[in-house]
């Protein structure tokens, strides 16, 4: 029986630093660990003493990929705390903005981070030579998401228009019509992307582990923005104000990030979780993409998260088009955001591209933040990655060490974890 020593310090093509450790002696597994060695970011401390008007701007900096998501979770929590309700128009445009980020993030993950695994390359760069049409499709869809965020959020990342009570600046009807046309073209590109992923789907490992999935749920919509917390383990949903009783955050000795568990030792969030809870509510365009893959509700192969993301790209594009149609039918109405400070506490929850996200803030009578609690999806997935490892490794322990390493890295990447940021300077010599 083989001796195995897999030690991956910092898994590649994920955002941030995670470490894989597997040791087996004479075929007997001695250690299987998913570790997160990242330093804490202190955002919850950073916002204390800051105005209710600034929270969404500060916390958007938690992440460059899901900055819109953090802004929206924060703004919902702030409005909940100070007792503000927004117009139907604001709600619709926020969701279109949120969807633009889902497009951008999912395409980034499937196209730039996962596709190289399926096509046997180290990164997306060599794919330009071998699969130029795939890369062109990925780039065009990525650009579509960025364009939507820039149009409604005012910037490609870290939106500046999102304010308590509404928007600081609204898109014009002409701009919305142009974006709708781009979305319609984007829907055709999703079909091309889906066909490519379908053709490679047999390269996704066949590994299934019965898992509790958690996501937002609401009537009538495959939701990313509204709703209560649902689990595949129970029928009743839980109000987002009670999210701490869902996440049950705890400290693990092998990680600087907190871990979570609800009805079992761990649970999973993300595209596959949303699919397993809300697949019946997909729009026809997205159901057609799901049918290409034969993706069934109840799927519990974590590697299929990327497939669910492709389905969701179709879903958010199709729903964006419908929401924009609704705004255009009513006409874009000029609105001035109205919000005033008030003592209170509020919770906001939205679905980040990589899973359900919770923000809670409390404010004093002057609107200054007195406490904050942010529970991120990647943190909620750490425990589940560990449990997947514990189930996967015995099944693959007889494979060559490099293959074990790759399968475990692919598993981590499938969760689309998003842990930090770094530098990128040039290093050149003149010729």
């Amino acid at each position: 029986m083989p001796n195995i020593d897999v030690s991956v310090h910092h898994v590649t093509r994920v955002e941030g630093h995670g470490t894989i450790r597997v040791r087996a002696s004479d075929g007997k597994i001695e250690r299987v660990e998913w570790r997160v060695p990242e330093a804490p970011r202190f955002f919850e401390a950073m916002v204390r003493g800051r105005s209710y008007e600034d929270i969404q701007t500060i916390v958007s900096r938690i992440c460059g990929i899901c900055s819109v998501t953090h802004s929206l979770a924060a703004i919902k929590a702030v409005e909940d705390a100070i007792g503000v309700t927004v117009s139907k128009q604001t709600d619709a445009l926020r969701i279109v903005l949120h969807y633009a980020e889902q497009i951008e993030s999912h395409v980034l993950h499937v196209g730039y981070l996962v596709a190289p695994d399926l096509l046997g390359q180290k990164s997306v760069v060599p794919l330009v030579a071998s699969h130029p049409d795939v890369v062109k499709t990925v780039i065009a869809l990525h650009k579509l998401g960025n364009a939507g965020m820039e149009l409604i959020g005012g910037r490609m990342t870290h939106p500046v228009t999102v304010k308590p009570g509404g928007f600081a600046k609204l898109p014009t009807e002409a701009q919305l019509k142009a974006y709708k046309k781009d979305l319609e073209n984007g829907m055709k590109l999703v079909g091309i992307l889906a066909d490519v992923v379908v053709s490679l789907a047999d390269k996704l490992p066949d590994f299934n582990r019965d898992t509790e999935y958690v996501a937002l749920k609401t009537d009538g919509t495959y939701t990313f923005y509204h709703g209560d917390i649902a689990s595949t383990d129970v029928k009743e949903t839980t109000d987002v104000h009670k999210f701490e009783s869902v996440a049950n955050e705890y400290v693990s000795a092998q990680s600087t990030a907190k871990w979570c568990k609800w009805h079992r030792d761990s649970y999973a969030v993300g595209a596959l979780a949303r699919y397993n809870i809300n697949a019946d509510l997909l729009l026809p365009e997205a159901k057609a993409v799901a049918a290409k893959f034969g993706l069934q509700k109840g799927a519990c192969n974590p590697y299929l998260n990327s497939v669910a993301q492709v389905v969701e790209i179709a879903q958010v594009i199709a729903h964006s088009i419908r929401l924009i149609d609704g705004v255009l039918t009513d006409g874009v109405t000029p609105e001035t955001p109205k919000a005033a400070p008030r003592e209170g506490e509020g919770v906001g929850s939205v679905e980040a591209p990589r899973g359900i996200l919770f923000h809670r803030y409390a404010f004093d009578g002057k609107g200054m933040c007195t406490s904050a609690n942010i529970c991120i999806p990647t943190g909620q997935n750490h425990g589940n990655i560990q449990k997947d490892f514990e189930s996967l490794v015995p099944k693959i322990i007889d494979k060559p060490q490099d293959e074990i390493r790759l399968l475990m890295e692919m598993l981590v990447r499938a969760y689309d974890p998003c842990i930090s940021c770094s530098t990128h300077y040039l290093d050149v010599e003149f010729v």
């Binding site: 955002e15 770094s422 530098t423 990128h424 050149v428 010599e429």
Partner: protein, 159 residues
């Protein structure tokens, strides 16, 4: 759409690494940039492909390890330099702008003319702000980039 793109790259939280973004920001503040699109793309390297699309010329400003005295600025084209960077493919923030420019070219988004301005850092480490070696030459960098792109300073009161 403007025919020239000026792209500043770098992480402003990593000392001199953030020089590209700082220069892009100041260029827009101090110079009349009509006819030129200026981008501070931070560490979003893949977005370089998007902003180069349909441009006749691109000027890319980045911190560069060139073996020169800290603060040195060198203008070069893609053919005049070779990347020594070893990528670990750790994250989307890690990258090689030469590779990204190649990607842009291969997918038909690359402008026919691309000019790089590399600036040798004194220190790349966590923290805001530039080292003295770069700060004292900051105006000189701006002038060189403005000259390359034909920009003129805003008249007093416009800034």
């Amino acid at each position: 759409m403007a025919e020239i793109a000026v792209v500043g790259l770098g992480n402003p939280l990593a000392g001199d690494e953030g020089i590209g973004g700082r220069l892009a920001e100041e260029l827009e503040r101090r110079y009349d940039c009509s006819g030129v699109e200026v981008y501070d793309l931070g560490t979003s390297l893949f977005n370089v492909v998007h902003v180069l699309e349909n441009k006749a010329k691109a000027v890319i400003i980045d911190c560069a390890l060139m073996g020169e005295k800290p603060g040195t600025i060198i203008k070069f084209t893609r053919d005049e330099a070779r990347s020594k960077k070893v990528l670990r493919h750790m994250s989307l923030h890690e990258g090689d702008v030469f590779e990204i420019v190649n990607v842009a070219g291969r997918v038909g988004s690359g402008p026919p003319e691309i000019v790089f301005f590399g600036i040798e850092p004194e220190r790349i480490e966590l923290g805001r702000g530039l080292s003295a070696s770069l700060e004292c030459r900051f105006d000189e960098y701006l002038k060189e980039i403005a000259s390359e792109t034909g920009l003129v300073k805003k008249v007093a009161g416009d800034a």
